[in-house]
Each structure stands twice: as C-alpha cells, then as structure tokens.
C-alpha cells in the first residue's frame, strides 16, 4: 500500500476543566488512503469532533501528531478543509464571495478563485445562485455552499463534522447521494463524522467506531458495498447487516457510559 494521505500516531488530547484533567482522546493511530471515504461513529462524548479539530490544526494535541502527505499538521488552512455542522456562511457575503474565502485568505489570484468557485458551485447544484445571499437559501442549499467553499479552498482532505445533522430527513438523504457523487467526481479524501450509522455505512469505504471517553478506536468496519450507491441500497439486507453490526458495537458503548455515569452520580450522592 502506498503512503497514506492522512496519518495520525498516538494522538492524545486532554482538557483542563475545574482543575481536573479530562482525557478526551487516547492514542489514536489511523491511516487513511488517498481518495478514501472514512466515517467516524461513536456515542456522544467520544471525541469525534475533537479528533477532526486536532487533524485540522484548530487545536493542538496533548501528544502525538497528524500528517498529511508526510507533512506534520501545525496550523489550519492549506491541505485540509473543514466542513462544519453549522454552515458558518458569512451573512453579508454572496454565495460566490463565501465560496472563495479560502483562496482569498491565502492571498491567491481572485479571478482564478472565482472561476474555481463557480465550477464547484455548479458541481454542488447551485449554478445561478452565485449572487444570492445565505439568508435567501434553504438549509440544504447552505450546506452545499459550505461544501463548495471547502472544495474551492483547494484542499485534498475534507473533514466533515456532521454536516447534515441540522437538515430534515429527506434533505439529508438527498445530500448523502450528492456527497458521494461529488466525492467520486473530485477524488478527495474525506473523513466524515456522524451520529447516524446508516449515513456512515452508505457513504463510506470504512467506518471507524470510537469508544466513549477517552475516545479510542474500538473497531473498524470495511464497507464492501458496490459503488456507485443509490438510496435503494439502504433497503438491502447486506446494508442492514452492516448497520446492525455497528449499532451493536455502539450500543455496548452507550450502555457502558450510561452505567458509569449512573454509578458516578450515586457515588457522588453518597459522599
């Protein structure tokens, strides 16, 4: 296998809170190949989002490192783009001006950036909306702009933090198929965080299941379903089998964490 696009070694993160140190992530070793689509699922509080923020360089690891193409990540920008759960579009900018923010901040040629942004806006299905303002768009359309913005930034790696969580169920399904199409047309490497197991299975080549705090890799599930994938795939038994398997892994985790939280609360009450 060739060198991985994205690699993390012994990535750990602890936060200080009220004088106590809370370990959020412990010793994550993950390799993601170029052009691979990998999802992370796990119960709430498993540090999925923290993991993305570490890889992006938005926060610094307590120990360990992340590399893109063999180069260590030290600051945001450049090779990685982050797609947030909230679209985070600047409300005073048009769709096009939002999409070009990456090249603009990097001081790149704005003419080229505009052409690039226009073509990516067309790719995400927003041709003709360049001059609209975010408040004139629906939630799904805003997330499309969010994606076009990440693509225009020219990054090879897209980190996506529950980008469809705020959308209604039908829009979400459409956006999932759109994302697989965009991914296959652009050949980007995607690391996708979600709560929804079926979303993870539908989109991914591989699903990483995280344990609850501290977050560790519990198991990885390779999804051997043919591509291109249609929404009808979700009703097939082999799809259901993957979802079941991952849900069982997480279910244990969720029960464990609820039990632990209950015990801790009881212990605190006795004191």
């Amino acid at each position: 296998m060739s060198a991985p696009k994205l690699r993390t070694r012994d990535l750990c993160k602890s936060f200080e809170k009220d004088g106590a140190s809370i370990e959020v992530l412990r010793g994550l070793n993950i390799d993601i190949a170029r052009g691979e689509f990998v999802s992370i699922v796990g119960a709430s509080g498993c540090g999925k989002t923290t993991f993305l923020r570490l890889i992006n360089g938005l926060i610094r690891a307590s120990s360990g490192s992340a590399w893109i193409d063999g180069r260590e990540v030290t600051a945001p920008g450049g090779d990685i783009a982050f797609v947030f759960q909230q679209d985070g579009l600047l409300p005073w900018r048009t769709v096009l001006d939002n999409a070009i923010i990456g090249p603009e901040l990097q001081g790149k040629n704005m003419g080229e950036a505009r052409d690039l942004a226009s073509s990516y806006l067309a790719l995400v299905g927003l041709r003709g909306f360049e001059k609209h303002y975010p408040h004139e768009l629906s939630g799904g359309m805003r997330q499309r702009v969010n994606m076009a913005r990440a693509l225009t930034a020219g990054a090879d790696v897209l980190l996506m933090d529950e980008p469809f969580a705020a959308l209604d169920a039908q829009t979400r399904e459409i956006m999932q198929t759109e994302l697989t199409r965009i991914w296959s047309e652009t050949g980007k490497t995607v690391l996708f965080v979600t709560h929804q197991i079926d979303e993870a299975v539908f989109l991914s080549d591989r699903v990483l299941v995280f344990t609850v705090r501290p977050g560790r890799l519990k198991e990885e599930v390779a999804v051997n379903l043919p591509r291109p994938r249609e929404l009808a795939l979700k009703r097939r038994p082999e799809f259901g089998a993957y979802v079941d398997r991952i849900w069982k892994l997480i279910e244990e985790e969720v029960r464990d964490s609820i039990r632990r939280e209950t015990e801790e609360a009881l212990a605190a009450a006795r004191r």
Partner: protein, 244 residues
C-alpha cells in the same frame, strides 16, 4: 394618514382654544415659516444648527467608532476605560452645557463639544458590543481556512459589527439633535434652538413651532435614512420580521 388626522385634530383644538399663546393654527405656522425664510433668519439659523450638529455628530462617529475598535482589540484599554464609559453614558452630560459655555464661549466650539459628548457614548458602546459578539461559528470557520488575526478582524469582526454600529448611530442622531437645541438654549447668537428661545421670549408661538417642526423632520429623516442603510447592510437581520 395618521398625520392627516393629527393635523385636523390640531386645527380643531387650536380653533376651540382660540389661544395664540398656547396653540396656533397650522396656517399661522406656515405663514411664519414663509416670513422667516424671506427675512433670511431661518436659513441662517438652520445653517448654524447644521454646522453644530454635523461637527459634533461627525466627531462622535470618528471618535466613538475609533475608541470602540481600540477597546475591543485591547483588553487593557477596555479594563481602563469601561467604568468611565458606563458612567458617562448614564450621566446626562447635557447638564454640563453651562460649563461648556464658560470654557469655550458661545460660538461653535462649545456647541460642538456638547453635541459630541451627548452622542459619542451610544456609538462607542454599540461598536464595542458589535465587535465583541461575533458569531463563534464564523470565527472558527475563517480560522479553519487559515485566517490571520488581522484578517479575522477585517473580514469577520468589523462587517458583523456594522449593523450594531449603525444602530448606535440611530440612537445618537436623536441625542445629537437634543444636544444642538439645548446647547443653544444655554446661550447662542443663532440656531434653531436659539430661534425657539427667541420666539418664546417674544411670545411668538408660531415661530417656536417652525423650529420644532424643522427639527422633528430632520430627526425623522436621519433615523429613517440610517434604518434604510441598516437594512441594506444587514438584510438577514430583518428577514424574520417580514415573514410575520
């Protein structure tokens, strides 16, 4: 529509009272307006008041926004000046008028200083609040695309503070007009406030109302203009209201 009803009511009450000291007919105010224009008095008064207003308000915009930006950028400056700003904002600084007359004379300087002082704080406070309440998501997004602190300031913080700043200007406009009138009441040689003073001294109620109406029209025009700018600058903030 409601202005029309008010005008009819006004006329009715004026006719019923038949007291030229308290309430005069609108027609009489109109006549006085024409007289004052023809004698050149009104134009001169308006010119003086306009200079006082523009000078004080303009200075307040520059200083208020400037100081707000500096205070938002530096915690130390903020800690040093915040108590003073809060205190002076709550103080009716207009009461310092007589002191200003003594210090700066009855010319433009004292008026401009007083107008400046009455309206600088709302501008400053709104600028500061606007810069401090930037949406965290937006900050994180531009940071994730590699924005420098300088870029974050100019591309996110300032644009997102603009509607706040305009709102501050809207509050200040009204205060500035009050400042002009009151400053002139304390002592002046010309101006709309002085016209009010003069008219009251000579029982010229119509002349007094001419000045009051001109001030009211100017105030409404300024506020409406700023509201229009605010909607143009930040249409997303008014969207929800339209839907109701």
């Amino acid at each position: 529509m409601s202005f029309g009803v008010a005008a009819i009511l006004w006329e009715a009450v004026a006719w019923w009272l038949d007291n030229k000291l308290f309430l005069v007919r609108l027609g009489a105010i109109g006549e006085r307006f024409v007289e004052l224009i023809q004698s050149g008095e009104l134009i001169a008064d308006m010119r003086v008041s306009f200079i006082e207003f523009a000078g004080g308000f303009g200075l307040a915009i520059v200083v208020g926004i400037g100081a707000g930006v500096i205070m938002a950028a530096s915690r130390r400056v903020r800690d040093l000046f915040d108590p003073w700003v809060s205190m002076l904002y709550a103080t009716p600084t207009i009461a310092l008028g007589p002191l200003f007359m003594l210090a700066f004379g009855i010319g433009y300087t004292s008026k401009i200083a007083l107008v400046f002082l009455t309206c600088v704080f709302p501008i400053l406070i709104n600028t500061l609040a606007g810069l401090k309440t930037t949406d965290r998501t937006l900050l994180e997004v531009v940071r994730s695309y590699g924005a420098t602190p300088r870029q974050i300031y100019f591309k996110v913080r300032i644009p997102s503070a603009l509607p706040f700043i305009i709102a501050g200007l809207r509050v200040s406009v009204a205060r500035a007009l009050v400042g002009v009138v009151v400053a002139e009441l304390f002592g002046a040689r010309a101006g709309l406030g002085f016209l009010i003073f003069r008219s009251a001294q000579s029982f010229d109620t119509a002349g007094l109302f001419v000045a009051v109406f001109i001030l009211a029209i100017c105030g409404v025009a300024c506020v409406e203009f700023l509201k229009w700018i605010e909607i143009r600058l930040a249409p997303w903030r008014f969207n929800n209201m339209d839907e109701e």
